[in-house]
Amino acid sequence: MSHATLEPRRDRSRQAFLSRATLITSALLVVGMALVLVLHALPATHPLHVSSATVALLGKYFTYMLLALAVDLIWGYLGILSLGHGAFFALGGYAMGLYLNAQGTALPGWQGLLASFPLAALAVVLAPGILALAFGWLAFRSRVTGVYFSIITQALTFALMLAFNRNEMGMGGSTGLTRFSELLGFRLASDGMTVALFLASGIAVLLAFWLCRAIVVSRLGRVAVATRDAEARVRFLGYRVEHVKLSLFVVSAMLAGIAGALYVPQVGIINPSTFAPLFSIEVVVWVALGGRATLFGALLGALVVNYLKTVLTGAMPDAWLFLLGGLFVVVTMALPRGIAGVLAWRHRQEGAT
């Protein structure tokens, strides 16, 4: 081994939009989606057949992956740990839920407006976006950082959970919104719709992945990383740190909103428990396990943890939370850079020999 390999080398290709990891991740997403479609098209008696229920489950994983991407963009690259991203996810979900409820029945007041799909789609990104803008403007302008910011995001999502629990909100109270029937004039409970939603979610993940990648490799992305590591220095270089934070926070909230909107028709319900602080913390655990500050790590973490959750809550429902907690502790201590860190390390080892 030559001397040069002893120190972390800077891989220049990492700066390009199409890095190795980006290509592999994009390819895996596309191939994965195609494979699921093919297997789903097999006759139901075939041993490799993927059922409608599994397709819906995978579609749900995609929305979680999108949410993890949103959290990683601001936590991994900007150092803002939001423990309330479930709030933005839920707001997008409620906007979609109202749209679905408005099909066939006339909703009262402003909610009636959401019967139109374009308006509902707008609400899906604007509701989380505006909340993030107002909340972020207040927080970043006052230079609230670190754990203090995390705590107030918890308070934010908790307050929203209490509000949405109330029947006066007109959001279905503690039951939430459910009993959806149609989306864009098509019946929700049909196989074609399940596949369409699965595809839409997968494509959303792919597009969001490319968007985040473009942001991360831009000069703004490097300013973000610089802010994460030495905020005062960035400020004295003349950048408006609060504007950088605010813009990425809003983008992240909007991505979370889109994830929520795709989640609701696939799961068939949205209720205030999505605002629960615990859910938002779980999202952070996905990202930490997958590998913070690597976009594919966030995707991988969301997929792996949620797959484990599906398997284990079926097998031993009581043990799941202990396992999740234990996994988090072990990964934080043994693999501080998550699964992605292990993969990158293996890759470097191969390159060195």
Binding site: S218, R240, V241, V244
Partner: protein, 287 residues
């Protein structure tokens, strides 16, 4: 009646004169005006923290192109003074002007930085997760707005500027190394390089040679002396050997105000300075 109409017309003409621009339409960053005086001017500045007067009626002027050393014992208010100039701390009273046009007390940190005041921290602060040339690229003077930053790409002129600064700070061979793996001295130079990328008019440098080896110190001295003349440089330093190497004019701070000012020989023979700062055995060392 016609008189007032004429006045009105006069006013209108005045308003619509094509050869003039309204004040509010002028760019906020009008150039620094040093025709009528110093580049930095502090008058009667005071600030207290919890009753402790960190800066006490401080007066200081820095001329354009000057290299000034500021020395003083711990707690003399050196770092607080830099905080005030760069907008981090607001003084309780006094005035701070950059050129004769910019009242620094009305501006915040990014705006002051964009006016052309660069600051080097006491502890070397570089972006460790980025490589050396990326560090310089982020510091490059340019449009700092979010959208522009997102879309901006490094052009030929920018690359040339980065190469030039890399040459100046002697890190050309390290351009693709992560800033985090540089030695302490190299980080200090990189940070000075980042300040140069900003094309500042005034550089504030806080203890540049703390923790440096003798050869590194020599190189830093050369670097700073070379910079003076192109821009004004204010160096806060403890190390008397280093100060002797670079100083043309020295200001001694003590308890938040200026105790003495002049050449190093002048101030180090000033009995008050000897008493408060240089002390017994260090006296011989300094002279």
């Amino acid at each position: 009646m016609s008189q007032s109409v004429r006045t009105r017309v006069q006013q209108l003409r005045e308003l619509s004169r094509p050869d003039r621009v309204f004040d509010f339409m002028l760019p906020a960053q009008s150039p620094v005006d040093v025709r009528h005086g110093p580049i930095l001017y502090l008058e009667d500045v005071s600030v207290s923290f919890d009753g402790f007067r960190a800066i006490d009626r401080l007066n200081l002027t820095i001329d354009d192109g000057e290299l000034r050393c500021i020395i003083g014992p711990n707690g003399a208010g050196k770092t607080t003074m830099m905080d005030i100039i760069t907008g981090k701390t607001r003084p309780d009273s006094g005035q701070v002007w950059f050129g004769s046009r910019h009242n620094l007390l009305t501006l915040d940190e990014p705006r002051i930085a964009n006016l052309g005041i660069g600051r080097k921290f006491q502890k070397p602060t570089v972006f460790e997760a980025l490589d050396v040339s990326e560090n310089l690229e982020l510091a490059m003077a340019g449009d700092r707005r979010v959208w522009k930053t997102l879309l901006s790409r490094l052009d030929g002129a920018g690359q040339a500027r980065i190469d030039e600064v890399l040459e100046t700070i002697g890190l050309s061979g390290e351009r693709h190394r992560l800033a985090g793996v540089l030695s302490h001295g190299q980080k200090q130079w990189l940070e000075i390089g980042m300040l140069l990328m900003q094309r500042p008019r005034l550089l504030l440098v806080d203890e540049p040679v703390a923790g440096m080896t003798e050869p590194e110190m020599q190189r830093t001295a050369e670097l700073l002396t070379r910079l003076a003349g192109q821009q004004s440089v204010v160096v806060v330093e403890h190390d008397m050997g280093f100060v002797r190497e670079i100083a043309r004019k020295v200001t001694v701070l003590h308890q938040g105000s200026v105790l003495a000012e002049g050449s190093l020989d002048q101030v180090s023979s000033d009995p008050r300075v000897v008493e408060v700062y240089l002390g017994g055995d260090e006296e011989t060392n300094a002279c």
